[in-house]
Symmetry: C2
Subunit: 223 residues, 2 copies
């Protein structure tokens, strides 16, 4: 009965690693097909798994998807922390932030459209509500870290709170994603960057007239 920690932990680590692998495969298919057209067999066809193995690791389809949502959270919640840590001036932070925004919309569009899909689904499928709500809260906190750091570096107070800042930037981001999906040739990414560089200063006090001082390519009037 001498069970070392290694002997005990390894099986459950294997188990969890397998769950993660399943979840990552499911996330790929979900990002491709969306919640409505997602099926376990379709996921199996697009991966190395067989359609039956899911029920060995998850109670049912919804359990898998909820786990996917929670796993997705871990990968995206700290996405902008590097731009916070590596920026030491307000304009530098803002520029790094909008660049990262543009990158993620280009590189991970399927994951982002899936996120908006799942968030909408959570209004019809109560089983998703909790997991989605937690991610939304984490995203709001991530946005708030950027905004707080920006205010700190700019030496100005924020005139909006955490929910407002998140809702605003999320709305802007969502429109950019919709436009990018509808017409990938369009200039939605530069519009997104311009809009964020307009709105972030607007959400801080005393910087409303500082827009024109940034120069560069983002000084076109918004209308």
């Amino acid at each position: 009965m001498a069970i070392t920690t290694r002997e005990r932990r390894n099986p459950v680590d294997k188990h969890d690693a397998r769950r993660r692998a399943l979840a990552e495969s499911a996330l790929r298919t979900l990002g491709e097909l969306g919640y409505a057209k997602f099926s376990l067999r379709e996921m199996a066809n697009h991966s190395e798994f067989t359609h039956g193995v899911v029920h060995y690791y998850f109670a049912d389809k919804l359990d898998l998807i909820v786990y996917c949502v929670q796993h997705y959270k871990a990968t995206c919640i700290t996405r902008y922390d590097s731009v916070i840590d590596e920026s030491f001036a307000a304009e530098e932070l803002l520029r790094a932030f909008v660049d990262k925004l543009g990158e993620t919309i280009e590189d991970e569009a399927p994951m982002h459209r899936l996120w908006y899909d799942l968030r909408s689904q959570s209004m019809f499928e109560p089983g998703l509500a909790d997991a989605v709500s937690h991610i939304d809260e984490s995203l709001a906190e991530m946005v708030w870290r950027v905004m707080a750091r920006y205010g700190e570096l700019a030496g100005a107070q924020l005139v909006v709170g955490k929910p407002e800042a998140y809702a605003i930037l999320d709305g802007i981001f969502q429109q950019a994603l919709l436009g990018h999906q509808r017409d990938p040739q369009g200039d939605h990414l530069v519009q997104l960057k311009r809009q964020v560089m307009l709105l972030v200063p607007l959400m801080t006090m005393g910087l409303q007239s500082g827009l024109a001082t940034e120069g560069g390519s983002a000084d076109t009037p918004p209308f």
Copy 2:
């Protein structure tokens, strides 16, 4: 062969009226179940129609849903025009606007969550993209009419353009709807009103310090 205009127009009117009736029934079921769980038979069970009649009036399921989206547009595009026409001062317009926002979130939550669902679906189902895009554009114009009128009444210029104003208010509205669905007992409606009354002046020049002058119950600090 004497075909009067009444004889000729009536049949196609009947046809279109029937299509509209089908669409309204489908919209009710869609608002209840969401796009993913919507089925023609489920719609038939919740209405006076039989599941087969749909294919007499629509090519297929997607054709029906696209028609639903377009029909939905007509009912919601002019929703805020009355508050524009009947308000003759900036604060009055703003108050009427936020009141209407709260009303629609209370009275037509199923339709609004359906809208966000369908907009997300349009990123996976290209057949929905055009119809959804047109509605989004119309909603942006509706928001812009309110904003333009507000700026006019306040005697101030807007510091954001049409896409920004719409994205911002849409993001705020969406968060309020999500919160209201997750927890109907919460105070998301008063938060929504407070947020909009903060942000609309913020989107106009020279009104940043005018927030405290409104008094009433919306003067709590945003953070």
